[in-house]
């Protein structure tokens, strides 16, 4: 069926929403970062899905004419993965500093401490 054949896109949607929900719903800062990472991963899968050409194989030149999958999105995703890693690293570093400054990494407790100030 057409719908089932698009299973890769369904996975993208599920992951994206799961990640997005995690970012919004949880107060723990580390969980937010985790959610963000899941969200970004869904995008990676999206790009890679779009790269696949029916009957295509890995895009490595062997000298024989073959159908290759599109290599460009793979390259784009490598860049995006690097960006994602930097973001995660930065986020975690900020969490460490927040822990030092506030003693907690729960959003509501941080908010409470700020309001008292």
């Amino acid at each position: 069926m057409e719908l089932l054949g698009l299973y890769n896109y369904w996975i993208v949607v599920v992951l994206m929403m799961a990640g997005f929900y995690t970012v919004i719903a949880f107060d723990n800062l580390v969980k937010k970062i985790v959610g963000l990472t899941i969200f970004q991963t869904s995008v990676f899968i999206f790009y890679i899905s779009m790269a696949k050409v029916s009957g295509g194989t890995a895009p490595i030149l062997t000298g024989e004419p073959e159908v290759f999958s599109n290599p460009l999105p793979h390259v784009l995703i490598l860049t995006a993965i690097v960006v994602g890693i930097s973001t995660t690293a930065l986020g975690l570093a900020l969490i460490v500093r927040i822990r030092e400054a506030y003693g907690t990494i729960e959003e509501d407790e941080i908010q409470a401490q700020d309001d008292q100030q």
């Binding site: 963000l36 970004q40 790009y47 779009m50 460009l72 986020g91």
Partner: protein, 496 residues
């Protein structure tokens, strides 16, 4: 020979200088290097603007790979204008930063500060100059990540949380943009903006393309802090170091507006189905709400930095409103306000930085009588405030004139009235500060002297420019109008 590679150098020079700053370690040397680099960037952007005004759009193929397969840097009147704004602000803020950073950031972190600053500058310049959609995303993330770092260096511990919040929201925004770009690639097979513009009209009914438009709009709107996606802005601006606030307030959101302009008017062709509805049906009411709500909230803020942050949200509303009129006057107003607001807000935040240096705080009750003790600083602030209100002889008046003219031309009378009403709201929050600073006696035993010259001069450069471009507008209005006409006529312009 160098002039042929200027577009590349615009981005490469600050990029290479950033790790050099980390290597250099010593605070003063890194500042000097950053200063040099920012002035070099300014020089390059001025030359580029001159070239584009004389000869028309420039195209530069990175690494010699021809577009649309290679990455292309394409400079037309719009980018050159925004490049100029970003580099001017960078060049003016850096002399200011030396004293301000010494005061607000621990010595050991200075070299990292300047490195991040340069990376941010690289990112912003890169977003503006590139002609490739994915390249735009990469540079956008470079600038965003470095701005998260810059914000977190603020003295107050709330800066950390503000930076974290901005990180989460900014990453979501950028990810939305990249989803949109991916869908565009799926539909057309190219990432080059000029090529996209050529190919999109053939597929503009496809759902993929319509969804990509939606994703890109939401992502860009998050980045430029249009209501209701502006929540990261007030805290980020309030708790960041003063030099950072001034720089980001004058550049980051402006570049966001540029992204919107570029995608809306260049990539997606003029009669793209969703565009008119989105602009007029969604962005127009949102920007009006942004202006009214943000100005009202600003009135009740006691921290002057947060007040100006909300004021920025309102001013961004003006810019998007101008765009949403989809007429030459309206788009001119929007682009012009990018320039004028950068001057006004940048100057006002620099003045606040001077006050932070001398008084240590920007709470309204701490500012009593500051007009007597720091007359030059406060007068600069007041002049900037006049620009926000729209008093004649300031650049803000010129933007307001065009904006309201655009509303009147499009028969949006109610919007014109709302915009004029918002000027009165701006009058209230600016005047609150004026009354406290000039008409109240300073607290007992409080001593404060005028800010040091290294900080006063950059402040007055920006505020002076604000007044100058309120009187002699041929450059600012002329270029904005040319850019607007270009955007509304055809896509990226016919290839040279």
């Amino acid at each position: 020979m160098i002039s042929a590679h200027l577009p590349a150098l615009q981005v490469v020079v600050p990029l290479i200088a950033a790790p050099l700053c980390v290597i250099l370690r010593r605070g003063t040397w890194t500042w000097a290097l950053a200063l040099l680099v920012s002035w070099a960037s300014l020089a390059i952007s001025v030359v580029l603007l001159g070239q584009v005004l004389d000869d028309g759009p420039l195209s530069y193929a990175f690494g010699g790979w021809e577009p649309p397969w290679g990455i292309e840097y394409r400079v037309d009147v719009l980018n050159a204008y925004v490049l100029l704004i970003v580099s001017v602000v960078g060049a003016v803020v850096l002399p200011f930063a030396r004293r301000s950073v010494l005061e607000e950031i621990p010595e050991s972190q200075h070299s990292l500060f300047y490195a991040s600053f340069l990376l941010c500058l690289t990112g912003l310049l890169g977003v503006t100059i590139t002609g490739d959609a994915f390249n735009l995303f990469v540079f956008l993330e470079i600038s965003s990540l470095s701005s998260y770092v810059l914000i977190s260096l603020g003295r107050d511990r709330r800066a950390l949380h503000a930076a974290f919040q901005y990180l989460i929201l900014g990453t979501i925004g950028a990810t939305f943009i990249v989803i949109g770009i991916g869908m565009l690639y799926m539909a057309t097979g190219t990432l080059n903006m000029a090529d996209l513009a050529a190919r999109l009209p053939f597929v503009d009914e496809s759902r993929t393309v319509l969804v990509s438009f939606a994703f890109i709009t939401v992502g860009a709107t998050l980045k430029l802090a249009l209501f209701p996606l502006h929540f990261w802005l007030p805290n980020a601006y309030a708790y960041a170091p003063s030099a950072v606030t001034a720089f980001l307030a004058a550049t980051a959101t402006k570049v966001g507006v540029y992204i919107l302009l570029r995608f809306f008017f260049t990539v997606y062709s003029f009669d793209f189905p969703l565009k008119a509805i989105t602009l007029q049906g969604m962005l127009m009411p949102l920007s009006v709400i942004a202006v009214l709500v943000a100005s009202t909230v600003a009135i009740f803020e006691r921290n002057v930095k947060r007040m100006l942050a909300y004021s920025s949200v309102a001013q961004i509303g003006y810019m998007i409103l101008g765009l949403s009129f989809m007429s030459v006057t309206g788009v001119t107003a929007g682009i012009l306000h990018i320039f004028n607001h950068a001057l006004m807000k940048g100057g006002m935040f620099l003045a606040l930085g001077c006050i932070v240096l001398r008084l240590g705080s920007v709470e309204l009750d701490q500012l009593r009588g500051v007009g007597r003790r720091m007359p030059l600083t406060m007068f600069a602030f007041v002049l900037g405030g006049f620009g926000l209100i729209g008093i004649p002889l300031t650049s803000g008046f010129v933007s307001k004139w065009y904006l309201i003219l655009g509303a009147v031309e499009g028969d949006h009378w109610l919007i014109a009235v709302a915009m004029l009403f918002s000027s009165l709201l701006a009058l209230i929050y600016v005047w609150r500060v004026v009354e406290v600073a000039y008409l109240q006696a300073p607290p007992e035993g409080a001593k404060a002297e005028e800010a040091p010259l290294s900080m006063l001069i950059p402040t007055w450069v920006l505020i002076g420019a604000n007044v100058y471009f309120g009187i002699e507008t041929s450059l600012s209005v002329g270029v904005a109008q040319t850019a607007a006409e270009l955007l509304l006529d055809v896509g990226l312009g016919t290839s040279p």
